[in-house]
Symmetry: none
Subunit: 203 residues, 4 copies
């Protein structure tokens, strides 16, 4: 009936985005489990039917938020990593870049860090696997030569990410939960030092 909403057909793309950002907002405020589909609709201005038309399910929305976020985070790192020239610069970048990103997108970061609870639909799960594999390949390809050259320790593949990123992620988690004083950017030097100290070889 020519209401304001119907007129606002800036297109399908915009509707998807408004749902996604309303969803992140709700997840931040209420938590994933406690956010209802209706919350997201109220917040985004979309109708229930519209949400289901675009995302198929509540978990579909969560997946959308997650995939969007992880892709941006990964892309930002990979892009900058290519401009680094030494193992130390690379390791430090992983830490500092993460700090910068988290500080810029705290809600999204919080959501990514709590992702373990999401029951991803199969399609999303598959895409996520692909994204993660591509990312790991890209990053490991970048670091591999330095390991070969003896600049970095040679360790079981599973242990690199925990050792380099585990500390700053743990700290970040605390900070996002309001349990740490200093923002990640203030302590990123300390964590970069620690990561490099743990990865470097002593010759």
């Amino acid at each position: 009936m020519g209401s304001r909403k119907t007129v606002m057909r800036a297109g399908t793309r915009a509707r998807r985005q408004s749902i996604l950002s309303a969803a992140l907002d709700c997840f931040t405020r209420f938590g994933l489990a406690s956010t209802t589909v209706e919350d997201i609709c109220r917040e985004s201005g979309a109708s229930i039917g519209s949400l289901y038309h675009h995302f198929g399910s509540k978990e579909g929305v969560a997946s959308g938020v997650f995939i969007d976020g992880i892709q941006r985070l990964n892309a930002d790192l990979v892009k900058k990593l290519k401009r680094r020239k030494s193992a130390e610069a690379g390791v430090r970048l992983v830490v500092t870049q993460y700090c910068d990103w988290v500080t810029k997108h705290p809600d999204l970061a919080r959501f990514l860090l709590h992702s373990r609870d999401i029951a991803f639909p199969d399609a999303a799960r598959a895409e996520l696997k692909r994204i993660h594999r591509d990312y790991i390949v890209e990053v490991f390809s970048w670091f591999a030569p330095f390991v070969t050259a003896g600049d970095m320790k040679r360790l079981p593949p599973d242990t690199y990410v925990p050792i380099i990123s585990g500390p700053i992620q743990d700290y970040t988690r605390n900070w996002l939960a309001g349990q740490s004083q200093s923002s990640p950017v203030e302590v990123k030097g300390i964590f970069a030092d620690a990561a490099w100290a743990a990865m470097r070889t002593v010759r």
Copy 2:
């Protein structure tokens, strides 16, 4: 023995324990959110009323499991820590002891690592705060002299735990989720090395 308030009948203590262990079992198999109060009752043999009589709510049960677990984990570490004599031995112990404990109590460890989802009742929240403070004080008191002596880096207080325990916790989380091959005990040397490399001072 007996609780602070009342002399309990023989069975009371046992009933509480049976509920607690049935709950952990269910949380492990179904997840916290998907475990129903009825599940716990069926598994433990307690009636619904009895569960509510003792714990007040589903979250009350989860709190009970959590507090019991964290206290045992903390106590085990503190006890062993007192037998160590050097900063390096202390740092390594934190890592290796965690590995040993997790391997021995994988279900409890998984539950503790996912604790962020629990909406702790106020009483539990308060007790948890107390427990955590006591623990931090005890552990920091043990390490402080070595920092003073220059054996370990002097860092912002908030950063010690993430740097020392972050990596092994991250690895453990992956392993408990079935995403890492080697059990923590097999890689504990690597993570102990990394922790000490990140904490030691170079003179």
Copy 3:
């Protein structure tokens, strides 16, 4: 017609009404407290979800019944009152009209007389307040000139309703509870006499 907010589909109005009348039926037979939401659904043919979609809670349904009833009762009186020309006719009408109405709608009357137990939701409470104020204003405006003219006693505002309506309401309550023999219409003359005797001025 349509509600204030939305143009309702044909069925929506009907569904609300069927729930409301089923609810009154259940309240009459089982009592407010003993009526379950399921009873109302069974009786009305609505699903649980539909009931909650429209009324939000069990108390929301009770409020709906109450508000509908009180509005009809008030409207019926106000309409007839306007056709009366003397203080005595007005006072007598309040009593006799109440008797007629109660005899015609005994279930609704019983429910209104027991309303004290309802925990009205805030929204309902506010609307009720508005309805009551409007009603009082309208009725008092009608009687005021006769007080001014000296046809009726001048009393504290709070006391008019109890003195005029208190007796017949008390009698009605007893009758609806099966504790009085004669129906209100049989004794309405007596109560109208009493009300006028208590309100008239003797010159």
Copy 4:
């Protein structure tokens, strides 16, 4: 084991009384329906078992409170009524005495006025019937001579109580619910006037 409570065996009478007055307190604060047996126990210091030993059920407790209250109310009126000498004095006393009593025992009065919701146990129901019959007989015997003598209207028996007491009870109900400004004692003259105006014969 020799706790303060066990020692406090001032006798069975005292325990009963403490339960009764705790119950009234809870009914006032939470309402009859929302008061739990546990509430009463907490408030009175009695154990659940003790409450059931003395009263048999929750309704048994409510009956106890009710019967105690109604007996005191009735007795107070009957006693004073016997000292009155005229119909007018009697009618006025019924009203004013009620005002005084309500002002002195507001909680009990509120409870008595809401008594319709109580599902009295059979024994209590029988006793109540007896009490009410005795009371009616006594009061009606007192008034009967004045009706015979033509001092008061001759009306259907069921209508006397509503006409005389209905208004002040309605006013009182409002006042106890916080909806009237003036306390009953301030307006008792007005209601006594109204009652007598409605009951007197005009010769």
